[in-house]
Symmetry: C2
Subunit: 129 residues, 2 copies
C-alpha cells in the first residue's frame, strides 16, 4: 500500500499538521496538507502545506524566505494527524509566525484573559514585501 | 470580551488541540475541544476534550487514570488552535496514547513507508477495563 493512502484524509482531502522545532521542541505552528503537499514535503525535505484560505499549495517560506527543513514526518495512531520535526530557517531564532514571532502560540491563558508572551522578532512588513 | 469568545470555533463549534508534555517537550496527542471542554480544562487544571466519536466531553484519563495536569493553555495567532502544556499522569513514563504508548505520534516516515518507532509501555487491555 502506498504510504500516502495510509493517511486518513478528511472529507476535504486534508490532514492537520503540527510543526515542531527539532532542536528546541517548541511547537511552532499548525497547518494543513493535502496529498500533494505531503508528497512534496517528503520529496523536497522542506515543509509544503495546503493553504485553505488561498486554496493552493503553500511552500512555507516562499515569500518570507522562512523555509522549514523537515527532519521527521510522523503520523498519529489514528492516521489522521501529521507531526513534522523541522528546522526553521531564515532568521535566528527562527520565525515561524506571520506576525514575526518565533511561534504562533504566543497567547497564554491567564486569569480569564489571553496574554501575549512572545516578542516580535522582525517587523512583518519587512518579511512580506 | 469573554476569553472563550476570542477563540475562533469552527463550524462544528470545535477547536483543534495539541497536547505537549511540559517537561520533555514531546508532542503527546492531538484532540478537539468545544467551548465547555475548554472552560472545564481551565477550571480543573486537567485536560478535558470533546470526543467527536462519542459526541460528548472526554475528561482525559477518566477510564485509564491517565489524567493530564495542565500547566499552560495557549492560543495561536489565528485564534483557532489550542496548545496545552501538560504533565501526563498515571504511568512513568507517561502514556498518552490509547495503544499504550507514550505519544500518539509513533509512526515515522522512512523510505516510502510508515515505521513504528515507540514501544508499547502497557497493554491497552489492562488500561481499559
Amino acid at each position: 500500500m502506498n504510504w500516502l493512502d495510509e493517511v486518513s484524509w478528511d472529507d476535504k482531502g486534508l490532514v492537520p499538521v503540527i510543526a515542531q522545532e527539532a532542536a528546541s521542541g517548541d511547537v511552532l505552528m499548525f497547518a494543513w496538507m493535502n496529498r500533494e503537499a505531503l508528497q512534496k514535503t517528503a520529496e523536497l525535505g522542506q515543509a509544503v502545506y495546503f493553504s485553505r484560505s488561498r486554496g493552493r499549495l503553500w511552500h512555507k517560506g516562499e515569500e518570507s524566505g522562512h523555509l522549514q527543513t523537515v527532519h521527521e514526518i510522523r503520523l498519529d495512531c489514528d492516521n489522521d494527524v501529521i507531526l513534522l520535526k523541522v528546522t526553521q530557517l531564515g532568521h535566528e531564532p527562527g520565525i515561524a509566525c506571520h506576525t514575526g514571532r518565533h511561534s504562533c502560540f504566543f497567547s497564554l491563558y491567564k486569569d480569564g484573559q489571553w496574554v501575549v508572551t512572545e516578542p516580535v522578532l522582525k517587523d512583518p512588513g519587512s518579511i512580506y514585501k
